[in-house]
Symmetry: C2
Subunit: 365 residues, 2 copies
């Protein structure tokens, strides 16, 4: 049987309440008593029962972090920074610090809801949802309802890298990424190099991240008169004429997507990928087709994941400060930093021009 508070109390010759006070340090206790209790704790190798504590105090030291895929560096970087932030730091008590529960949804809406239930059941202190949202009215409503309830019961909610949930009340803080702006600058870069037939190997259309990146892309094209403007409020849709294919955010989606794109439009001189991982797949497909990057086709990624700089050629991409965002989400979910005005902050993105993009081959006239 495990050692309990009562055992420690007996050993130290005090009441269990006193032991509790010493442990939590939130109440005055005489120095000598404290010493005696400390010794008893050490001698018995006592470890608090978190469940009992949580039950009695109606609080918990669990923070849930929902990610699409831990194995994806995009989420890994966010989660890692977040966890570093909420774990016990140097100045804080040992054993203080929250436990981050990293939950892999695999991008599945059902898994997302399941994990939210599990976290609600654990009375989590906070929940952070990372990455793009699935844009399905019904699912959004379900998530919103769940989050609203969690927030109402005192759980802090932070959205990191996903659009705000307007109907969920002001309880929910959002850290959004400027995917639209980044994508726009990226496409402008390609246009300024002289590219006119730019293909997209995009992510799944139902994800907000995909949509925002495509909107940015379209805005750049529109500025060059190559596509109609998208009116505000209008639902986004792929233009029938344009070379766009959809897939996942993984390498093989990039590979397959590039092949499909070349089939649809063999004349593309540049390809914008869903993210860096997919861009690697695009490059591999082009290589296998005997096309050189950027000689025959320029390729651009997104996110600026660590390996992008080591790809061949190094990937032109859009940098998102994932670690900073994760750390900030960590501070917010602990209530250690004040929410931004409007409960919403947008993280800027930065165009990183590298070797995978160049003027189209015909442009050396």
């Amino acid at each position: 049987m495990a050692v309990t508070l009562a055992d420690v109390a007996a050993r130290a010759g005090v009441s269990s309440a006193t032991v509790s006070r010493v442990l939590n340090g939130n109440y005055p206790v005489a120095g000598s008593t404290r010493e005696r209790v400390r010794r008893a704790v050490a001698e018995l190798d006592y470890v608090v029962n978190g469940q009992a504590r949580a039950l009695a105090a109606a609080s918990s030291d669990l923070v849930g972090v929902l990610v699409n895929d831990v194995a994806d560096p995009f989420f890994g970087l966010i989660a890692s920074a977040l966890q570093r932030e909420i774990a016990a730091g140097p100045g804080r008590l040992p054993g203080d610090g929250k436990l981050a529960v990293v939950c892999n949804t695999g991008g599945s809406p059902e898994a997302e809801l399941t994990y939210l239930t599990l976290l609600e059941r654990q009375r989590a202190a906070g929940v952070v949802l990372t990455g793009g949202a699935v844009e399905d009215r019904q699912h959004t409503a379900a998530v919103t309802a769940r989050l609203a309830r969690l927030a109402a019961s005192g759980t802090r909610i932070v959205l990191c890298g996903r659009p705000p949930l307007p109907d969920a009340g002001a309880e929910i803080t959002t850290i959004a990424f400027d995917n639209r702006g980044g994508a726009r600058r990226l496409t402008e870069h390609l246009l300024s190099l002289g590219h006119r037939r730019i293909g997209c190997v995009a992510g799944p259309l139902e994800r907000s991240t995909t949509r925002h990146r495509l909107e940015g892309h379209r805005a750049a094209l529109a500025a060059y008169g190559l596509a109609p403007e998208v009116a505000a409020g209008e639902e986004f849709r792929d233009l029938p004429g344009r070379p766009v294919v959809h897939g996942g955010y993984d390498r093989s989606s990039g590979y397959d997507g590039a092949l499909e794109l070349l089939r649809k439009d063999p004349a593309v001189t540049a390809i914008v990928a869903a993210n860096d991982t997919a861009a690697l797949g695009v490059c591999a497909a082009l290589r296998d087709r005997g096309l050189s990057v950027p000689g025959d086709v320029s390729v651009a990624g997104f996110d600026d994941l660590p390996f992008s700089v080591d790809a061949a050629p190094a990937l032109t991409t859009v940098r998102i400060p994932l670690q900073e965002a994760g750390a900030r989400a960590g501070r917010l979910v602990l209530g250690r930093s004040a929410p931004p005005p409007g409960a919403m902050a947008t993280v800027a993105t930065e165009l990183m021009v590298r070797g995978s993009t160049a003027p189209p081959s015909g442009s050396a006239r």
Copy 2:
């Protein structure tokens, strides 16, 4: 205030015990009663309180997964597969399924112990420790003691990718990686290509993974008569004469390590890196020094992380089936699969020869 069992019971016109029975389904309840309870649960949006349940039942649905760094794909792949395995699957009840708590130790022994305390406090159902261990007698003893206590209190312990803990009793199952064999085959590959001056940009010497890989490396050299055999039981140590430098498992360690290595021994024709990530850094350093890979220097990695195939040139490396290992660890920690004989299994590694290794330039005679 949150809805409790009692609320549901009142609504359904039964006792709370009955509701509990319906929820857990481990006791006969009349069909009509069950239906009534189910409806009350749904109407009230009731969610079990995990803490209270755990306290009363003396069990929990948390599984701790200790990793050095979530942002590192090595750990990401293990954690992702593990979590997929322990989460509620299709055939299982919704709300069943354990929560994986991924804990980032950052490679720090103190953090490792802190997290073990936190998990013990949560009365975790299981704990998986992944990746190489820090080989410090005192720390090993402390971890062993902690794990033995956890095991004694019913927590299942699995070691994944780290050597077995002999003194901890048979309660602990180990899934070890054959780092030694893989490293040996890798070095043999280089030797068979004709390399004789092979440098190592290794990981931290105090980590078991580093040591095992260096031992395999040395064994290959010894087989070619290029280094003395290491006697069994002898403590491993770097040979004074050999070009070996130590660093971390990250890219910049690889970069810095390669520069240092070139300073120590400009004549190396091949470099074995701590892992693939470090290998990318090594390649970058060589490139910056005007050396070509594999023209001037061959480079090899370890782990076969996803990006290795897209590096320029593609990395020769040693594949570890991380996902399979993670999934297996998941099954073991749930007790869903029987432990291997001797409570220990070794996962085979496989040499992957790609473009980053070639015969030394002088060998074309």
